[in-house]
């Protein structure tokens, strides 16, 4: 895979990156060393919160800890959403701080793709009929196959999001100077 990843260099992407580099957020993210370190730490904590809470629901859907009624595990999900929001906000700071490093990075493009897929999976889970069946599943019972599948896909996609996130530095475009 070339340095430009899935999307070719130039055009809209280049203008977007150039604009981002003029914003106050870009300067905030790059002018003080502590900002990047703090934001990265928050990004990891948000990740733990998201995986730990949504992960419990996903694991229950695929048959782990069956003593938990499925609807009760769903009460943890707002905390996962909080982790997701925290990571979206901190992610925007990274993006503003080093737009070229991310926009032209194959791993970043894959990470966004996996997050979109996770979003579609959640929407299908709640809207396409799996959730009404899953929420009545009590202690000791197995989830409907569609709910099992949604849980398995969710686990796969979030592990994938972490994979591509970790791969960012190894797919850094050659013309980008590391932010540290």
């Amino acid at each position: 895979m070339g340095p430009t990843g899935l999307i070719p260099l130039g055009g809209v992407l280049q203008s977007a990156a150039a604009w981002v580099a003029t914003t106050w957020l870009h300067h905030f993210a790059t002018d003080y060393k502590w900002v990047w370190a703090t934001v990265e730490t928050l990004h990891f904590l948000g990740m733990g919160l998201l995986i730990g809470t949504v992960g419990v629901l996903d694991l229950r859907l695929i048959g782990v800890a069956k003593g938990l009624p499925i609807e009760s595990t769903q009460k943890l999900v707002p905390w996962g959403v909080a982790g997701f929001v925290l990571n979206t906000l901190t992610g925007i700071v990274f993006l503003a701080g080093a737009p070229y490093q991310y926009l032209y990075n194959f791993a970043f493009q894959m990470k966004v793709l996996f997050m979109c897929a996770a979003g579609i999976n959640v929407a299908l889970f709640y809207r396409a009929g799996a959730w009404p069946k899953a929420r009545t599943v009590g202690a000791g019972e197995s989830a409907h196959w569609a709910a099992w599948l949604a849980g398995a896909i969710s686990l796969f996609l979030w592990v994938g999001v972490m994979y591509w996130g970790r791969m960012l530095t190894f797919f850094r475009p050659p013309f980008v100077v590391p932010p540290k």
Binding site: K33, W36, A37, E40, T41, F44, L45, M47, G48, L49, L50, I51, G52, T53, G55, V56, L59, V64, A65, K66, G67, L68, P69, E71, S72, T73, K75, L76, W79, A139, V159, M162, Y163, G165, R166, M167, T169, F170, K180
Partner: protein, 165 residues
């Protein structure tokens, strides 16, 4: 220091750090991250439940999540040793690394307390809300795992930094 340098320059240390393959440094780092999420994340989920979040969720069956946390711990112990060998002279000279190890050691003791005291006592597990003693332990657990994660991240910024993350 001589010993650490020889560790760092051993065939294994050099392979982890420098092998031009996705299976060396990138994969070790990926495993360390994913299992951080499972170890810390599930601990946080249990802490939150003890503190009263999702209180309709029975606490006892969460015992079945412990193997997932222990798997996370062991994968991270092994991948962590590999990352340490690859960067031994820098990481072992960094006080933040010592802070991280203290947090993890206490966090693991905390997990063992959960398992031996709380999760082996059906009466305590059935109490809703959970005892205030368990709640205090849950707050300590949250502080320890947030501390371990924060210290791990800051090793890349404070003290001696080699550029390896």
């Amino acid at each position: 220091m001589q010993f650490l340098a020889s560790l760092e320059h051993s065939a294994f240390g050099t392979w982890v750090r420098e092998a031009p393959t996705i299976w060396a440094y990138p994969t070790v780092l990926f495993l360390h991250t994913v299992d951080l999420a499972f170890l810390v994340g599930i601990n946080v989920a249990i802490d939150l439940r003890i503190l009263g979040v999702a209180s309709s969720m029975p606490l006892a069956p969460m015992k079945k999540l412990f193997p997932w946390m222990w798997a996370g711990f062991w994968v991270n112990a092994v991948s962590g040793v590999a990352l340490l060998i690859a960067d031994a002279t820098t990481k072992l000279a960094n006080p933040v690394f010592g802070v991280k190890m203290c947090f993890i050691m206490l966090g693991v003791i905390n997990m063992a307390w959960y398992k031996k005291q709380l999760f082996s006592d059906p009466e305590a597990l059935a109490r809703n809300p959970v005892s205030s003693r368990a709640k205090r332990v849950a707050i300590v657990s949250l502080v320890l795992w947030i501390g371990a994660t924060t210290a791990g991240r800051l090793m890349g910024y404070l003290g001696p930094v080699s550029g390896l993350e």
